[in-house]
C-alpha cells in the first residue's frame, strides 16, 4: 500500500516535470538565445555555456524602433480592453445574477455561442465595415473587438462571483434606502473585486498577445507588438534570430509579471462556481 502510494507519487512528479519541461523549454530557449551571440544560437552541438551579450537588445533598440511603438500600442489596447470588458461584464453579471427571466436565462446560450465562433469567421466581413466607419488603424477598433470577444466569458464569470454574494445584503441595503446603483457600487462591486480581477487577467493575456485582429485592422498608427514581431520573421531578406528572440523576451515580460502577480485571482476565476455557494 505504501509502496503503491510512493509509486503514484513518483509517477505524478515525473508527469508534472515532463509537462513543466515541455512548457518551459521553448520559453527558456528563446530567452537564453536572446543573450547568445548570433552564430551560437543554432550551433550543433548546442552551446549551453556561452558569453552572454546584449547586442541583440541594442540592435532591437536601434533597428526596430517600431517594436517599441508597438508595445505602447499594445499597452493602450490591452488596458482599454481590460477596463471596458471588466466594466461591461460586471454590470451584465450583476443583472444576470440578480434578475430572473426566461429571456435572460435563454440569452446565456447566446453568450456561450458567441464564444464558440472562430474569430476569422467575422474578421474578414468586418473589414469593409470598419473601413467605412473610418475606424481602420485605430486603437478603438481593437479595444471594441477584444472586448466583444471577451465580454461573454466575463459576464458568465462575474455572474458566478456575484451569485456568491448573499442577496440579503442587497435587501438590507434597499430597506435602508439604497438604490440599485448604490447597491451595485457600494456592496456588490467591492465584494466581487476578485472576479473582476480574474476577468481582467483573461482579457489582458488575450489582448496583449493577440495577432489576427491587429493584422487585419491595423497598419501603422495602431500596430501592436505581435504584429511587429511577425514582420521580423521575414521570408524575403531573412531572420535576425537574436533580435527576434530579444523582442519576444521583451514582449513576454510584462504579461508574465502581471500573471504572476494576479495568479491567485486567476485560479479563483477558473474555479468560480465549482461548488454550490
Amino acid at each position: 500500500m505504501r509502496a503503491d502510494r510512493r509509486l503514484i507519487g513518483i509517477g505524478k512528479a515525473v508527469a508534472v516535470a515532463a509537462i513543466v519541461l515541455w512548457s518551459i523549454f521553448p520559453i527558456a530557449f528563446i530567452v537564453l538565445s536572446s543573450f547568445k551571440p548570433g552564430r551560437d544560437i543554432f550551433a550543433v552541438p548546442p552551446k549551453l555555456l556561452f558569453q552572454p551579450t546584449l547586442v541583440h537588445y541594442a540592435n532591437l533598440w536601434e533597428r526596430w524602433g517600431s517594436f517599441f511603438d508597438g508595445l505602447v500600442n499594445s499597452l493602450i489596447v490591452t488596458a482599454g480592453s481590460a477596463v471596458l470588458a471588466v466594466a461591461i461584464s460586471s454590470l451584465a453579471g450583476f443583472v444576470y445574477s440578480r434578475q430572473k427571466s426566461r429571456l435572460l436565462n435563454g440569452s446565456i446560450f447566446f453568450l456561450i455561442g458567441v464564444r464558440l465562433i472562430p474569430p476569422i469567421v467575422v474578421t474578414l466581413p468586418l473589414f469593409p465595415i470598419v473601413n467605412w466607419l473610418g475606424l481602420n488603424d485605430t486603437h478603438l477598433v481593437l479595444i471594441l473587438l477584444y472586448t466583444s470577444f471577451f465580454v461573454s466569458l466575463g459576464t458568465i464569470l462575474m455572474r458566478t462571483f456575484i451569485d456568491q454574494i448573499p442577496r440579503e445584503l442587497d435587501e438590507a441595503a434597499i430597506i435602508d434606502g439604497a438604490s440599485r446603483l448604490t447597491v451595485l457600487r457600494r456592496i456588490i462591486l467591492p465584494l466581487a473585486a476578485p472576479g473582476m480581477l480574474a476577468v481582467a487577467v483573461f482579457v489582458v493575456v488575450f489582448a496583449w498577445n493577440e495577432f489576427l485582429f491587429a493584422f487585419i485592422f491595423t497598419a501603422t498608427k495602431a500596430k501592436t507588438a505581435p504584429f511587429v514581431l511577425s514582420e521580423m520573421i521575414s521570408s524575403v531578406d531573412g531572420v535576425d534570430w537574436g533580435v527576434l528572440f530579444a523582442a519576444a523576451t521583451v514582449q513576454l515580460l510584462p504579461v508574465l509579471v502581471f500573471v504572476m502577480v494576479m495568479n491567485r485571482f486567476l485560479v479563483a476565476g477558473l474555479t468560480a462556481g465549482a461548488t454550490k455557494g
Partner: protein, 429 residues
C-alpha cells in the same frame, strides 16, 4: 450674462485668428503623403544602406512624404488585395509578387500604359523583359518590376577544400557526386549534409527539373511538358535523400533552416536567392563568414546544346490600386523608383536590381562579388510557374507528390503521373 470685450481682447483674437488661417494655408500647401504598402525590404533598400536615402530627391521634388506600411510577403499580398477591393483605399502604391498577378488580381490595379505613354519611365526596355512580361496581363501593363530574387547554388568553400574538391560543380551530375562526398563529419567534428533544400516551395524541384530541360508548368499552362526531365529531376532528389545527402528532416525543412544550416557549416550546398549572400557570410550570424560562395545552378551534362538552365526568379512590382486617390503622385513615385539612378542606389543598398544596365555599372560590379554571375543567371531566369487562380493549390499538390518521391514512398514515374493527373484540372480554361 454680459461679455466684456476690450480692444486688447479684440486685437489678440484677431491676430490669433489670422495666425490660424496662415498656419492652415501653410498646412494645405504642405507635403502630400504617399501611402505605400510594401515589404520592409522595399522600404530599406530605398532609404537605408551604403547609398543612403535614394528616394529623398523625389520626396523633395514632389513635395511629398512617404508613409510606409510594411508586412511580410503573404500578409502583404492579402492586405493589398483587400484594400484594392474596397470602394476606396488610402494606399497609393502597393508591391506585388509576380506569381500572384492573375487576371482577376490584375483587374484590381490601374493599367499603366497610359502613364507610360504620357510620362514615360526612363529607358523601360532596360528592365529585364521577362520580369515586365509577368506584369503584363491581357495586353495591359499593371505593374512595374522593382526587385528580383534569382536562385543560386551556394556552397561552403571550406568544406569543399576539406573534402579535396577543387571547384564547385559545373553540371548537376557533378553536384550530386560532390553532395554525396560532402556528407561526412567535418574536421571540426560537425556532421555535414551534402545538400539542404526546403520542402515547402516548388522552386527547388523545379530547378532540378529544369536542369534536365523540364519544368512544372510551362508558359502555355501545360503541366510537366517534359515528363522524362521531371522524372530525372525527382530521381536525383530521391537519390540524394537515400544517400543521406539530404537531411532526414527534409519534409520539415524550411527556407530559414537552409540559411541556418549553411551559416553553421552543417550543409555544403543549398539553393537560395543571390541576395542572401551577405546574410550567409555575416560574421554576427555565421560560423563560417566569408566561406559561403555562389555559382549559377548547373544544368545536366545531357542538356541539348544551345539550351540553358533557367534558374527560378521571383520578382516584385509596384502597382497602383484602381481605387486609390492621387494616382499621379503614385506614378511619379513609381517613375522615380524605376529610374536608373535610384535603381542603382537601391542595388547598392542590397536590392536585386531589375535593370540590365545596373550590372554593367563598374562601381556596382566591384562592390558586389556576385554581380556578374547574378546578371548571367537573370538573363535566362523565369518564374517557377505562371500566375493563375489555382496556383497555390497546384503548388501544394505538386509538393505533396515530390515529397512522396523523395522519401521513397512512390517512384518518380508514379509521382510525375500523379502530378499531371491532379494538377491538370487546376489549369485555367
Amino acid at each position: 450674462m454680459t461679455i466684456k470685450l476690450t480692444r486688447r481682447d479684440l486685437l489678440a483674437s484677431t491676430m490669433a485668428g489670422a495666425a490660424t488661417m496662415a498656419l492652415g494655408r501653410a498646412a494645405l500647401g504642405q507635403t502630400r503623403t504617399l501611402n505605400a504598402l510594401s515589404h520592409l525590404v522595399h522600404q530599406n533598400v530605398l532609404t537605408k544602406g551604403s547609398a543612403g536615402d535614394v528616394i529623398a530627391p523625389w520626396r523633395k521634388a514632389a513635395g511629398a512624404e512617404i508613409s510606409w506600411t510594411t508586412l511580410d510577403s503573404n500578409p502583404l499580398q492579402d492586405r493589398l488585395f483587400r484594400e484594392a477591393s474596397l470602394g476606396q483605399t488610402t494606399f497609393n502604391v502597393g508591391f506585388v509578387v509576380d506569381n500572384r498577378m492573375t487576371p482577376q488580381i490584375a483587374g484590381l490595379f490601374e493599367p499603366l500604359d497610359g502613364y507610360q505613354s504620357s510620362d514615360p519611365i526612363e529607358d523601360i526596355d532596360d528592365i529585364a523583359p521577362g520580369l515586365r512580361r509577368a506584369m503584363t496581363v491581357g495586353g495591359k501593363v499593371v505593374g512595374i518590376p522593382v526587385r528580383h530574387a534569382t536562385q543560386a547554388l551556394f556552397y561552403n568553400e571550406a568544406l569543399l577544400e576539406e573534402a579535396g574538391i577543387a571547384a564547385p560543380p559545373s553540371t548537376v551530375e557533378d553536384l550530386v557526386e560532390q553532395a554525396k562526398k560532402l556528407t561526412f563529419t567535418s574536421a571540426a567534428g560537425a556532421p555535414v549534409t551534402g545538400m539542404i533544400l526546403a520542402s515547402d516551395l516548388a522552386v527547388f524541384p523545379v530547378m532540378f527539373a529544369r536542369a534536365f530541360g523540364g519544368d512544372f508548368i510551362g508558359a502555355d499552362f501545360k503541366v510537366v511538358p517534359n515528363r522524362e526531365a521531371m522524372e530525372k529531376g525527382l530521381s536525383v532528389l530521391a537519390d540524394l535523400f537515400q544517400a543521406r545527402a539530404l537531411p532526414r528532416s527534409y519534409a520539415n525543412t524550411r527556407n530559414d533552416d537552409m540559411v541556418t544550416w549553411l551559416q553553421q557549416g552543417r550543409a555544403a550546398f543549398g539553393v537560395l536567392p543571390f541576395a542572401r549572400y551577405a546574410q550567409l557570410n555575416n560574421p554576427e550570424q555565421s560560423s563560417v563568414p566569408g566561406k559561403i560562395k555562389a555559382v549559377e545552378f548547373p544544368g545536366s551534362a545531357t542538356l541539348p546544346a544551345g539550351s540553358a538552365m533557367a534558374a527560378v526568379v521571383e520578382s516584385w512590382a509596384m502597382v497602383i490600386p484602381a481605387n486609390s486617390t492621387d494616382k499621379d503622385l503614385s506614378w511619379s513615385f513609381i517613375k522615380a523608383v524605376s529610374s536608373k539612378a535610384v535603381t542603382l542606389g537601391a542595388a547598392r543598398n542590397g536590392n536585386g536590381p531589375v535593370r540590365v544596365s545596373t550590372y554593367a555599372d563598374a562601381g556596382f560590379a566591384a562592390a558586389q562579388p556576385l554581380a556578374k554571375i547574378e546578371s548571367a543567371a537573370l538573363a535566362k531566369a523565369r518564374p517557377a510557374f505562371p500566375a493563375f487562380p489555382e496556383a497555390v493549390r497546384a503548388q501544394a499538390t505538386f509538393l505533396e507528390e515530390v515529397q512522396l518521391a523523395v522519401l521513397g514512398r512512390k517512384t518518380p514515374q508514379e509521382a510525375v503521373a500523379a502530378i499531371v493527373e491532379r494538377v491538370t484540372p487546376l489549369m485555367p480554361a
